[in-house]
Assembly symmetry: C2
Homo-oligomer: 218 residues x 2
């Protein structure tokens, strides 16, 4: 066949198909050969568009970061930083839990991914505008990311959800129990996220008062 007059592949199409595959069957289902087959193409073709498989998964992770709503940090939207931070965390977590299998990739490593960096920059900028010193604003961006990704990654529930296909009702009379466990754990995860997020923001508000009370320049 060799080269067609119109390219069969594009980075976007590869990322979209890889993302769908990750969502449907998990990270383990993504091999270059399998992904290529899904795209109607042979394995090595991918290397015309990405340097290696990791770069593809990074792009999938970044496409999830791109879905995080950041509008609560818009300047004209005169919300206080606590509310904005809260809404941001909820939006971020929603994006991650919608694509749980890619979270291990997203939660890790250096922030060379553009959408991931844009999220960090937006939070940083908003905190500085709200009156936080730059060093503290950096910390806030990082610690919010820790908590959000940690909560999306550390859930017990996923352990059962992942096994869902293995629970054939004919073979496993305890299926119901497993689902109950998963449901209970999902409530725990949501409650813990809620409790932790409120604590985090309340605690930061306390530090904010101290910082404001002893200003350096303004």
């Amino acid at each position: 066949m060799a080269r067609p007059r119109k390219p069969l592949l594009s980075r976007d199409r590869i990322v979209a198909t890889a993302g769908a595959l990750v969502d449907a069957e998990g990270l383990g289902a993504v091999s270059t050969r399998r992904l290529a087959a899904e795209l109607g193409v042979s394995g090595p073709s991918l290397y015309n568009h990405f340097r290696n498989k990791d770069e593809i998964l990074d792009a999938v992770a970044d496409s999830v970061s791109a879905q995080v709503d950041l509008s609560m940090f818009d300047e004209d939207d005169a919300r206080d930083w606590r509310t904005a931070l809260y809404d941001y965390a909820v939006s971020y977590r929603a994006a991650l839990t919608a694509h749980p299998h890619i979270v291990p990739v997203l939660a890790q490593g250096p922030g060379r991914r553009p959408a991931g960096l844009r999220v960090a920059d937006t939070v940083f900028g908003a905190m500085v505008r709200a009156g936080w010193p730059p060093a503290q604003a950096t910390h806030i961006g990082a610690l919010m990311r820790y908590f959000i990704t940690g909560s999306a990654l550390g859930s017990f529930a996923r352990g059962f959800v992942d096994d869902e296909t293995a629970y054939d009702p004919a073979d496993y009379p305890h299926l119901g129990q497993a689902h109950l466990l998963a449901e209970r754990q999902q409530r725990v995860d949501e409650g813990a996220f809620e409790t932790g997020l409120r604590a985090l923001i309340d605690g930061l508000a306390g530090q904010y008062e101290t910082v404001r009370a002893t200003p350096k320049s303004s």
Copy 2:
């Protein structure tokens, strides 16, 4: 050769060797064949002691959880829950950052690992003893884990540290820069962890007052 009169392998020896390999060369370096070679044995031998490779990595992760100091939760040690929680978080993070490559395994999935469960149970018990309602105590255990594992996993610094061997000074004049970046990011990570941990505990203390002020039974 076949079966020796004294077993060549044991679960402990496999876990120790696998852990050393993960620490030295990362998760990617662990293949059953490589690990077996390191143990002076052939690949399939491992399957006499573990069901599969994932079980080996789970055991490595659990051996790290086992290193978390929990003595601050001892009953006789009449410390208040805030201090204990703080010390616990610092100890937990130290255990993780000492073995950064296994954190993705540890941070994930269901808590079927005994040491991991013991940590969770200890925190839960201590919070209940301190006067938290059980539901809240569960949340506190989970949210602390989210924050700690997220901070150990989400560090920018590791991205550079991992590449360290690739930075041959002869080839890379910017090595110094990369190290500076890594060092700066390490300080950011530590600062963010510290700030977040204080905020978390301060915020929980606020919720504690509310809970205590409206008791249900005591």
